[in-house]
């Protein structure tokens, strides 16, 4: 997958860092595991990650989980999943941030809000990976938005 930088400015809360918003690649429909890698020579501190998932009509309970890994799917250094599953034929926004809460959707709110560890360095070539327990062939993720503080390694 590839990253597109959409905005950048100096980071005051992280002196010496650069506050950057990236848009990741848009996974093809049915791609329920996808990753974006930290660019070469950089270290990321992740502030927020947001992605929309449209589920197909197959009856299943999808559980999107965000993990940081070393470049190998099974080698995660942290993982954060939602408090509730997304069912068939729904469009949800899955948001991760440096929250202290893990809140699933309410009946009117097609979204969840999940915590990520604060101030956790993610070095170059490590990845942010979304996995989806019970993902279906017609499930369709949009391009993720990734908001980070970036340092030169």
């Amino acid at each position: 997958m590839a990253l597109t930088l959409t905005k950048e400015s100096p980071a005051r809360l992280y002196p010496g860092g650069s506050l950057r918003t990236y848009q990741g690649s848009n996974p093809a429909a049915g791609t329920v595991t996808f990753s974006e890698s930290v660019p070469a020579g950089k270290v990321w501190y992740l502030l927020a990650f947001s992605v929309v998932l449209v589920t197909d009509a197959n009856v299943a309970n999808r559980v999107p989980t965000l993990q940081a890994d070393t470049g190998v799917l099974t080698d995660s250094i942290w993982r954060s999943g939602p408090a509730a599953a997304q069912t068939a034929s729904l469009t949800w926004t899955h948001a991760w941030g440096v929250f202290d809460v893990n809140v699933s959707q309410a009946s009117s709110d097609l979204a969840d809000m999940n915590p990520i560890p604060p101030d956790f360095p993610i070095p170059a070539a490590y990845r942010l990976t979304v996995t989806t327990l019970a993902g279906q062939a017609g499930d369709d993720y949009a391009a993720p938005l990734i908001h980070v503080v970036e340092f030169n390694d």
Partner: protein, 156 residues
């Protein structure tokens, strides 16, 4: 929409949530009042950087039977990169004061206390970034109240 600056005080460096807030100006801004059924959206002023500490807005649900969930987003002018939702639902004919702040809790208030405390991590917003307050399942004449923002402001 438009912002009106209120009280202004220097911040000399305080620690919130384990992170040092650099020296800046603590400013209270009022936003515009949205029309019924419309969202609230304000843009970080040109040449400024904000660190929002508290964002407040009342949300009043009209008489249509539905459960609304107010939520707040940050975007870079186009792309939403952050989202934080209210701790609970707002039913028909109800007003809840929605408070997003840098505390460690997201709680639903008791019935006698029409306040919902919602989570707001420390995130810097840049010149041109936008803060939007709206609600999932909003109805035609639901009212997002005039927002207020307590921020630490810097020159970009």
């Amino acid at each position: 929409m438009a912002l009106t600056a209120g009280r202004r005080n220097p911040v000399r460096g305080v620690r919130i949530g384990g992170r040092l807030i650099p020296r800046g100006q603590l400013i209270s801004y009022g936003g515009s009042t949205p029309a019924p059924g419309a969202l609230s959206r304000e843009t970080i002023p040109t040449g400024k950087v904000w660190i929002p500490l508290v964002i407040f807005s009342a949300f009043t649900a009209d008489a249509n039977v539905a459960n609304r969930t107010p939520y707040l987003t940050y975007d870079d002018g186009t792309n939403v990169f952050f989202r934080s939702k209210a701790a609970g639902l707002t039913a028909a004919g109800t007003t809840h004061n929605q408070v997003w702040a840098t505390w460690d809790a997201s709680t639903v208030a008791a019935n006698s206390d029409a306040v919902q405390e919602n989570s707001l991590p420390l995130i810097e917003l840049r010149d041109g970034d936008r803060i939007t307050i709206t609600a999932a399942n909003a109805q035609a004449t639901d009212q997002v109240g005039t927002p207020r923002y307590l921020v630490v402001e810097y020159d970009a």
